[in-house]
C-alpha cells in the first residue's frame, strides 16, 4: 500500500516535468523472439531516470518520453534492448532470448536446476528453435544443433527410424539409442512393426525444451539405462493470464537432395555387347568378324537378352531411353502442416491445449506420412500445498510404407532395369520380367497397398504435496500405449503376390508401458552459505508387448484386399513379451557461497532382463564445480563475465538387450504340421548390464557481459562388461551366447560457442556453434578373440580390437591392370604387390564409417521485422560403402544398368582407368572391396528460414496479437564428394538385429536419398 502510494506520488511529481521538455506518448508492443508471442510484464524504463512502466497482458505499453531520451526494455531471460525515442510515436520491440544466462532453468532427471548450478554436462535446446522444421520426427530436427549428439536418418523414406548417438557408440550388441523421457516418463522408442519410428508419433510443436544428459553426473540418476545418454523432453504448459491462441499453416514441396547418373540406352547397349564380346575373344571366338562363331557365343547371348529387354521395341533403332531412376521419385512430394494451440489459465489452473495435422508426401513413390495429434496439459493448485496435474496426448500416425532397401520392390531398385526397356508395353500395361531385367516395382504402385497406422497415447497424472516449505513429495503415474496395425496387400501382378493370386499380411502390435515415479525433494539454505537440495525416491516401469500376425494368399480378385478374402491362410502367429525395472534413486546438490558446487547421485536398479545372480546394480556418480568468477579476485571483471570449472565421474549402465537373454530355453518349431521344440538359447545366469565409467572435465566461460559464451568439455567413456553375442563353436548347436565380456572406449571433446555478434533496435545477429570429436575404440573382446570379421560377403563391416566399431575390412582395390583390364587388389598389407585373384587379396582395414567429428553452426539475424536463420551441419571423416556397387558399378558384369562413370571402362592395352574391362558374369572387380568405398563427409545447409513479423500497425487492424509469414527450406544445399546418392545413409535392412545395426554402419544399398524441402508458412497469434 505504502509503495503504490509512493509510485503515484512520483508520477504526479513527474507529470509537470513533461510540460517543459518536448514530450510525447510512445506506445508499442513487445514480442518474444523465441516464439513470436507477446510478452507481458516487460519493464520499459527511461534511461537515467526512474520513470518506467510494464507491458500489459497483450505486451503493449504506453509511456511518455521526450525525443532525446532512451527507452530500455528488459525482461528476465531476454537480452535487454535500448532504443532512442527520436520522433517515433510507436516502438515495437522483439526481445531475443538470452539462452546462456545463468538463470536459465535446465531440466534434469527428477527435477530441474539453474544452469549456473549445473555440474554435469547437459545440452539444451528450446522447442521453439526447431518449430516448423518440415520433418516427421523431432529427432531429425535436432540434427546439428547439440554438441556431441549425432543424428542420422537411414534414408529419405519417411517415418523410419532415426539413429541417435550421444558421445559415440558404447555397445557392440546391445542397444545404442538414448533413453527418451517425456515429462518424466521413459517412453517406448522401439518395438513397433518393421522400421517404423515410434517417436514420429510425437508432435514436436508441443515441445517446450529438449535436454540431453551426456555425462555420468547428469545421467547416472537413470542408472542401468543411461549409458547411451538420456533425452529429456518437456512439453509446453500454460501460463496464467489471457488465453493465447496460435494458429499455423505450412505448405511445402520436396525433392531428392541428390541423384545418381546412369547410362543411357546407347551406352548400355555398347557396354553390354562389349561385355559379352570380350568373353568370346577370351575363349578364342570372334563372333563379330567371324560369323561362324556367333552361334552359342556370349555376344549372341547378350543380343538375345537385349531383344528380350527391349520388349515390343527394337533396341537397334534406339527409340527407347527410359530414365528408370526418375520413376522412383514422387513428383508430388511435399509437406503440409496445420496446427492450433491455446494456452492460459488463472492463478489456480493452467492449461495448454493443441492439435496438429502433419503430412509428408515422401520423395519416394508409395511413401507418405500423416499425423493427427492432440494434447492437453493441465495443472491445478488444490491448495497452497497440493498441486494436481495431468498431461494427455493422443496421436494417429499413418504411413504408407516401403519395403527394406534390399527388396526388388524398393522403388530405387528400378535403377537396375535396362534403359532400353519401355515402361509399358504396346497395350499400356507395365512391363515385367522377362521383359524387364528384374521386377518392375511400378506394378506395386498399381497393384499393392501398404498402410501402417499407429495410435499413440502418452498420458500421465501427477500430484505434488508440500509438507513444509522445504520438503515436498511428488508422485506420478503414466501410461504410454502404442496400438499399431500394419496392413499389406500385394496383388496378383506383384512380385510378392504373383505366384499365389495375391498375398496379404495383417500385423498388429500393442505396446503397453506404464511407469510411476515417487520422490521427495528437500531444499534448504543454512547460514546463508550452504544451499542444499536433495531428491530421493523410487520408480517402477513395466512394458508389455503383444503382437499378432496373419498372412493369407489366393484372393479371388485384387479388389478384395483384406484377409477375409484369402482362400489360404499361410501364417498366423501371436507373441507376448515383457520387461520390468524397479529402481531407487537419490541426488544431493550442494552449493557453498554461491561458487562451490557439488552433486552426488546414485541409482539402484533391478530388472527382469538380468540373470538371477546379477539382478541388482548400483550406479553412483559425483561431480564438482567452481564458479571462479564469483571469487573476489575476478568478481566484476569487465572482460571475463563467467568462468566455471566442473568435473564429474560416475557409472551408468546399458540394459538394452533381449528380455530373456539369461535363460536356457527351448522354443517352438514345427515340421509337417506337427508341433516341435528345439533349443534356442544357452543359459547365462550371470548376465547383467554393461557398465560405463565416464569422466568429464568441462569449462564454461562468458566474455563481455556474456556477449560470448561457451563450453569446452573433455570426456572419457570406458564401457566394460559389454553385452556381447560371443560366437561359440557352431558344433555346440548354437552360434552365439550373450556374455558380459569385452570393453569399448569413447573419448573426445566438445565445443559450444554462442555469440551475440550485434544487437540494437533494428538489427541483431547471433551465432551459435557446436563441434564434437569422438574417438571410438574397441578395446577388448572375448578371451582370445581379436576380431569379429565381416559376417557378410557383400558388406565389409567388422569389429577389430584397437579400431572403431564397424570398420570396413576387406581387400584394397588397386585399380586396373593397364595391360589386360583386370581388376587388381593388393596382395600384401604394405600395398606393394597386386593380384587379380580376389581370394589372394590381403584383407585389411580399408575405411571407417564413424565420423571423425560433427559440427553445426546456426546464425540468427533479425532486421526490424525480418528474421533470417540458417543452420549448416556437417559430418566429417567417415566413409560409405556402396553395397549396390557390385550390381550398378560393376563394369557391365551383368544386365543391371550401370552408373554413368562405368562407361570409362578399360578397353584396350594402355588404357589408364579405374574401371576394369567389361566381362559378362565374370565379376571382374565386382566383389566387395575398397573399390566401393568413398568419402562420406558432407556439409549441409540443413535449415534456412526467412520470417517476417507483420508490424503492429497491421496486426492491430487484423485484431491479432502477432502474425508471421516465413519461408523455410530443409536440406537446401549439400556439399560432398560421396559417389552414391546421399551421404546421410545407412541401408535399413542390415539392422535386423541390434548387433547388426551397431556393426553395419555407413552402407548404402539402393537407399533413398534425403528430402530437400521448400515450404511457406504463416503463424498467427491472438
Amino acid at each position: 500500500m505504502q509503495r503504490s502510494l509512493l509510485i503515484v506520488m512520483m508520477m504526479l511529481l513527474a507529470w509537470p516535468m513533461t510540460g517543459w521538455t518536448q514530450s510525447r506518448t510512445v506506445t508499442g508492443q513487445v514480442i518474444s523472439g523465441e516464439d513470436n508471442l507477446t510478452l507481458p510484464g516487460v519493464n520499459v524504463s527511461i534511461k537515467n531516470t526512474n520513470r518506467g512502466t510494464v507491458t500489459d497482458i497483450d505486451g503493449t505499453y504506453s509511456i511518455s518520453a521526450s525525443s532525446g531520451e532512451t527507452l530500455i526494455y528488459s525482461y528476465i531471460g531476454f537480452i535487454p534492448q535500448e532504443v532512442e525515442v527520436g520522433n517515433q510515436n510507436t516502438i515495437d520491440i522483439t526481445l531475443q532470448p538470452d539462452a546462456q544466462t545463468l538463470g536459465e532453468v535446465v531440466v534434469v532427471g527428477y527435477g530441474s536446476v539453474t544452469r549456473g548450478d549445473l555440474t554435469g554436462n547437459v545440452a539444451s535446446l528450446k522447442g521453439s528453435e526447431i518449430a516448423n522444421v518440415p520433418v516427421p520426427s523431432f529427432q531429425e530436427a535436432l540434427q546439428g544443433r547439440m554438441s556431441g549428439v549425432f543424428v542420422e536418418s537411414s534414408s529419405g523414406k519417411v517415418g523410419e527410424g532415426v539413429k541417435i548417438r550421444v558421445r559415440g557408440t558404447s555397445s557392440i550388441s546391445g542397444g545404442n539409442e538414448p533413453l527418451y523421457v517425456i515429462d518424466g516418463i521413459p517412453v517406448t522408442s522401439s518395438g513397433t512393426i518393421g522400421k517404423s519410428n515410434p517417436l514420429a508419433d510425437i508432435n514436436f510443436n508441443d515441445i517446450e525444451s529438449f535436454e540431453v544428459l551426456k555425462d555420468a553426473s547428469a545421467a547416472a540418476i537413470y542408472g542401468a539405462r543411461a549409458s547411451n545418454g538420456v533425452v529429456l523432453i518437456t512439453t509446453k504448459s500454460g501460463t496464467s493470464g489471457k488465453t493465447k491462441f496460435n494458429v499455423g499453416i505450412q505448405r511445402g514441396i520436396s525433392s531428392p537432395t541428390r541423384r545418381n547418373e546412369f547410362l543411357n540406352s546407347a551406352q548400355y547397349i555398347e557396354l553390354m555387347r562389349e561385355s559379352g564380346y570380350n568373353n568370346d575373344l577370351a575363349n578364342g571366338l570372334d563372333p563379330i568378324n567371324n560369323p561362324a562363331d556367333y552361334e552359342d557365343s556370349d555376344l549372341e547371348f547378350v543380343e538375345g537378352r537385349l531383344d528380350r529387354y527391349a520388349g515390343h521395341t527394337d533396341w537397334r533403332d534406339g527409340a527407347v531411353d527410359t530414365d528408370w531412376q526418375e520413376q522412383a521419385f514422387n513428383p508430388d512430394a511435399g509437406v503440409t502442416n496445420v496446427n492450433f494451440s491455446a494456452s492460459g489459465g488463472d492463478e489456480k489452473t493452467r492449461f495448454y491445449f493443441s492439435t496438429s495435422y502433419d503430412k509428408q508426401d515422401g520423395i519416394m513413390i508409395r511413401n507418405n506420412f500423416e499425423r493427427i495429434s492432440g494434447r492437453l496439459n493441465l495443472d491445478h493448485k488444490v491448495s497452497d500445498r497440493f498441486t494436481l496435474g495431468a498431461n494427455f496426448s493422443l496421436a494417429r500416425t499413418e504411413t504408407t510404407r516401403l519395403p527394406e532397401d534390399n527388396q526388388f520392390n524398393n522403388p530405387i531398385q528400378l535403377v537396375a532395369l535396362a534403359p532400353i526397356t519401355p515402361i509399358r508395353d504396346e497395350n499400356g500395361v507395365l512391363n515385367d520380367r522377362p521383359t524387364t531385367t528384374y521386377y518392375n516395382n511400378l506394378i506395386d504402385s498399381e497393384n499393392a497397398n501398404w498402410l501402417s497406422t499407429s495410435y499413440r497415447n502418452i498420458n500421465s497424472i501427477f500430484g505434488e504435496y508440500e509438507f513444509t516449505e522445504n520438503l515436498k513429495f511428488r508422485s506420478d503415474f503414466a501410461v504410454d500405449i502404442i496400438n499399431q496395425s500394419d496392413e499389406r496387400f500385394f496383388g496378383s501382378r506383384t512380385i510378392t503376390g504373383q505366384g499365389t493370386n495375391g498375398y496379404g499380411t495383417s500385423r498388429w502390435v500393442r505396446v503397453f508401458n506404464y511407469n510411476t515415479n515417487n520422490y521427495f525433494t528437500y531444499s534448504n539454505t543454512f547460514s546463508d552459505r550452504h544451499q542444499l537440495e536433495a531428491v530421493a525416491g523410487m520408480s517402477f516401469q513395466k512394458s508389455e508387448d503383444n503382437y499378432t500376425r496373419v498372412d493369407g494368399q489366393e484372393f479371388p480378385l485384387d479388389d478384395l484386399k483384406t484377409l477375409e478374402s484369402a482362400a489360404e491362410i499361410v501364417e498366423g502367429t501371436s507373441t507376448f513379451t515383457d520387461f520390468s525395472f524397479l529402481s531407487y534413486f537419490s541426488r544431493i546438490n550442494y552449493k557453498l557461497d554461491d561458487k562451490y558446487l557439488m552433486t552426488v547421485s546414485a541409482r539402484y536398479d533391478a530388472s527382469s532382463r538380468f540373470g538371477e545372480n546379477n539382478k541388482y546394480g548400483f550406479f553412483p556418480a559425483g561431480s564438482l564445480g567452481w564458479i571462479v568468477t564469483e571469487e573476489g579476485f575476478l568478481k566484476g571483471s569487465e572482460g571475463l563475465s563467467l568462468l566455471k570449472l566442473r568435473t564429474s565421474y560416475g557409472l551408468t549402465g546399458n540394459a538394452e538387450i533381449g528380455n530373456f537373454d539369461h535363460l536356457g530355453l527351448f522354443g517352438p518349431v514345427s515340421y509337417g504340421l506337427q508341433p516341435g521344440l528345439e533349443p534356442t538359447q544357452i543359459p547365462n545366469p550371470n548376465l547383467t548390464w554393461e557398465t560405463t565409467a565416464q569422466f568429464n572435465l568441462g569449462i564454461e566461460f562468458g566474455f563481455f557481459n556474456d556477449r560470448i559464451t561457451g563450453e569446452l568439455d573433455y570426456y572419457d567413456k570406458q564401457t566394460s562388461d559389454l553385452l556381447l553375442l560371443v560366437p561359440v563353436p557352431g558344433t555346440t548347436g548354437f552360434a552365439t551366447q550373450r556374455q558380459n565380456i569385452g570393453k569399448m572406449q569413447n573419448y573426445g571433446f566438445e565445443v559450444v560457442l554462442n555469440s551475440a555478434n550485434y544487437a540494437d533496435q533494428n538489427f541483431s545477429w547471433n551465432t551459435s556453434f557446436n563441434f564434437a570429436r569422438n574417438i571410438n575404440r574397441v578395446r577388448e573382446l572375448a578371451e582370445g578373440q581379436n576380431s569379429i570379421p565381416p559376417s557378410s560377403s557383400r558388406f565389409l563391416n567388422g569389429i577389430f580390437i584397437g579400431e572403431s566399431i564397424g570398420v570396413f575390412y576387406g581387400p584394397r582395390y588397386a585399380g586396373v591392370d593397364p595391360n589386360n583390364g583386370d581388376a587388381l587388389y593388393y596382395s600384401n598389407e604394405q600395398q606393394t604387390e597386386t593380384t587379380s585373384d580376389y581370394n589372394e587379396a590381403a584383407r585389411m582395414v580399408v575405411g571407417d564409417p564413424n565420423p571423425d567429428f560433427i559440427a553445426g553452426i546456426t546464425n540468427n539475424i533479425t532486421y526490424k521485422n525480418l528474421e533470417l536463420s540458417f543452420l549448416f551441419q556437417g559430418v566429417f571423416g567417415n566413409e560409405i560403402y556402396e553395397g549396390g556397387g557390385g550390381f550398378y558399378a560393376a563394369n557391365g558384369d551383368w544386365f543391371d544398368n550401370s552408373t554413368a562413370i562405368q562407361f570409362n571402362r578399360w578397353q584396350e592395352p594402355g588404357d589408364i582407368t579405374n574401371i576394369p574391362q567389361a566381362r559378362l558374369g565374370e565379376c571382374n572387380g565386382c566383389n566387395a572391396s575398397s573399390r566401393y568405398i568413398s568419402d562420406g563427409s558432407y556439409v549441409r545447409l540443413k535449415t534456412l528460414s526467412l520470417g517476417y513479423n507483420l508490424p503492429s500497425s497491421l496486426i492491430d487492424k487484423m485484431r491479432v496479437s502477432s502474425a508471421r509469414i516465413y519461408l523455410m527450406a530443409q536440406n537446401l544445399l549439400t556439399f560432398t564428394n560421396y559417389m552414391g546418392w546421399d551421404p546421410e545413409v545407412n541401408a535399413d535392412y542390415l539392422g535386423s538385429t541390434t548387433s547388426d545395426s551397431n556393426v553395419f554402419q555407413g552402407n548404402d544399398f539402393y537407399s533413398a536419398p534425403q528430402a530437400k524441402t521448400f515450404s511457406l508458412g504463416l503463424n498467427i497469434g491472438f
Binding site: R305, R385, G499, T500, F579, T732, G733
Partner: protein
C-alpha cells in the same frame, strides 16, 4: 485433518506398491520354455524329436541348400547360375568365400540338428518303452544322415584315399548344456565321420519300423546306407542295402510312378518317394523351388538356366525331356516348378539304379539283374529296353534320371570323374579338386582355433 489423510494415504500406498513391484521382476518368456521342462517327459521329448526334423528340413539343409550346392558344384556347363544371390554364384564359380553365408548357415543348422538329437539320446530312457526304439532310431537316422552330408560337403571324397588323415567335420555325440573350452573340438577324419554315419544309420535301420508316416523308416535308413557304401566303393554292401530298401519299400506300397513328371511337384509323398521333406504354406522353405522356378510360379527370377549341353544328352522320345520348358526367357527344369511342394531327398528310382550299378560291378544279380533294373527305369520314360549294358550306360542313366536332384557331383567324385568349368573351356576340375569341397565357415574358424581350413581357402 484433510492433509493428514493425504500424508497417511501416500505413505500407505507407497508401502503396498513397493512390495508388489518386487514380484514383477521375475518374468518368464511366453514363446519359450526352460530347457529342463522340454526334456522332462515322454511327450515333451517326442516334441523335441519333431524339433530335430525341423532343423533337418530347414532351407539351410534338406530344405534345399545341400542339393543346391551339389548342383552348383557340378554345373559342368550343363546349367548356368544367373541369379543375383552371390552365395550360390560363388559355388557355381568354384570361387567360394569362407564367409559365404549359405555355407555358414548350413554348418550351423547341421550342428543345431545334431545337438537336438544328442539331447534326445541323453534322456532316451524317459521315453515310453513302447516308442523308445522308434524315437531313438529316428534320432540316430537324423544324426547319421547329417554327418554323411557334412562329410561329403566339407571333406575330401572318400575315394581320394588317406581317409584317416583327410579331415571331415568334428564329431559331437553329447548335448550342449553350457559352453566351455571342452567344446573346442578338432575336425575328425573322413574315416571317423563315415564310420559314425554308418554306425548311426545301421542302428537306426534296426530300430526303425517300416511304416512311420513321412518320418524316418527302416528302408529309408537302408537307402542312405547304400549311398554311404557307394561313396566308400563298398559295392556289395551298397547293393545289399539298396536291395533291402527296395524289398521293404515295395512290400509297403512303394513303386515307380507310371509318369515320370508326376514324381515331382507333389504336396504329399508319392509312392515313389522313400523320403521327402514336407513343404506346405505353413512351412514353405524349398530353396530348390526358390532358385530354380520362375516368378509365375512364385520363384525368383529363374536363377538357373538349363543349357543345351545338358539337354542334348537325352535320347529322343525320352519323356524326361518334358521337364525342360522355356519360362522367364530361358530353359528351366520343371522338377522344382511349383511352390509349397515337397523336396525330394530319396526316390525309389535311385535304389534301382544303385542296385543295377553294384550288381553290375560285382557281377551278381541280387534282387534283379542290372538289365532288369535299368530297363525298369527306361521303359517308364518311353525309352526302348536295352539288351546289354556297360558301366558308362548305367552311370549315364543314373545321371539323367536323377538330374537336378543333387546327385551328379557325388557320383562324379566317387567315380573319379571331372567337372567342366562354365566360363573357361580350358578349365576342368578333377574329382578330388579342393575347389569342389566347401570351406570351413570363417566364423567357425574364428570361434574354434582347433579347426584346420580346407586346402585352397587361405589359412
Amino acid at each position: 485433518m484433510k492433509f493428514k489423510n493425504i500424508q497417511f494415504s501416500i505413505i500407505l500406498s507407497t508401502i503396498v506398491f513397493f512390495s508388489s513391484c518386487e514380484d514383477q521382476l521375475d518374468l518368464t518368456p511366453a514363446q519359450s520354455v526352460d530347457q529342463e521342462i522340454a526334456l522332462n517327459s515322454d511327450a515333451n521329448i517326442k516334441r523335441v524329436l519333431i524339433g530335430a526334423y525341423a532343423n533337418m528340413r530347414h532351407e539351410d539343409f534338406w530344405g534345399g541348400r545341400s542339393i543346391l550346392y551339389a548342383e552348383m558344384l557340378s554345373a559342368n556347363n550343363e546349367i548356368r547360375w544367373e541369379g543375383t544371390f552371390n552365395q550360390p554364384r560363388e559355388v557355381f564359380n568354384k570361387s567360394i568365400f569362407t564367409n559365404n553365408s549359405f555355407i555358414t548357415n548350413t554348418w550351423l543348422r547341421s550342428y543345431s540338428a545334431i545337438n537336438v538329437v544328442n539331447n534326445i539320446l541323453d534322456v532316451i530312457d524317459l521315453v515310453d518303452e513302447a516308442d523308445r526304439d522308434r524315437v531313438m532310431g529316428e534320432a540316430l537316422f537324423i544324426r547319421g544322415a547329417i554327418y554323411f552330408e557334412l562329410a561329403k560337403l566339407y571333406g575330401m571324397p572318400y575315394v581320394s584315399g588317406n581317409t584317416n588323415t583327410n579331415l571331415a567335420v568334428p564329431l559331437v555325440l553329447s548335448p550342449t548344456r553350457e559352453v566351455s573350452a571342452a567344446d573346442l573340438l578338432p575336425r575328425n577324419s573322413v574315416e571317423e565321420v563315415y564310420q559314425q554315419a554308418l554306425t548311426d544309420l545301421e542302428t537306426a535301420e534296426e530300430l526303425l519300423p517300416a511304416t512311420n508316416g513321412f518320418f524316418a523308416r527302416n528302408y529309408v535308413a537302408s537307402a542312405l546306407l547304400s549311398r554311404i557304401y557307394l561313396q566308400m566303393e563298398r559295392f556289395a554292401d551298397a547293393r545289399d542295402a539298396a536291395d533291402r530298401s527296395i524289398t521293404i519299400a515295395t512290400a509297403n506300397g512303394k513303386s515307380l510312378l507310371d509318369n515320370y513328371m508326376s514324381a515331382f511337384n507333389n504336396e504329399a509323398d508319392t509312392q515313389e518317394d522313400l523320403f521327402a521333406i514336407q513343404v506346405n504354406p505353413q512351412d514353405p522353405a524349398n530353396n530348390m523351388h526358390l532358385f530354380y522356378s520362375t516368378p509365375d510360379f512364385g520363384g525368383r527370377d529363374g536363377d538357373v538356366t538349363i543349357l543345351d549341353a545338358h539337354i542334348n544328352q537325352y535320347e529322343e522320345r525320352d519323356e524326361r525331356l518334358e521337364q525342360f520348358v522355356e519360362r522367364a526367357g530361358e530353359i528351366r527344369t520343371d522338377k522344382w516348378r511349383d511352390q509349397f511342394r515337397n523336396v525330394k531327398v530319396i526316390r525309389l528310382a535311385e535304389m534301382y539304379l544303385t542296385r543295377a550299378e553294384t550288381n553290375f560291378r560285382e557281377g551278381t544279380s541280387v534282387g534283379a539283374t542290372p538289365l532288369e533294373d535299368i530297363n525298369l527305369i527306361r521303359t517308364r520314360v518311353n525309352l526302348p529296353e536295352k539288351n546289354s549294358l556297360t558301366l558308362e550306360e548305367i552311370l549315364m542313366e543314373r545321371k539323367l534320371e536323377l538330374a537336378h536332384e543333387g546327385h551328379f557331383i557325388h557320383d562324379v567324385k566317387r567315380t573319379r570323374g571331372e567337372i567342366q568349368d562354365n566360363n573357361s573351356n580350358d578349365l576342368q576340375y578333377d574329382y578330388d579338386d579342393p575347389r569342389l569341397v566347401l570351406p570351413i565357415p570363417q566364423r567357425e574358424m574364428d570361434a574354434n582355433p582347433e579347426l584346420v581350413q580346407n586346402p585352397g581357402y587361405g589359412g
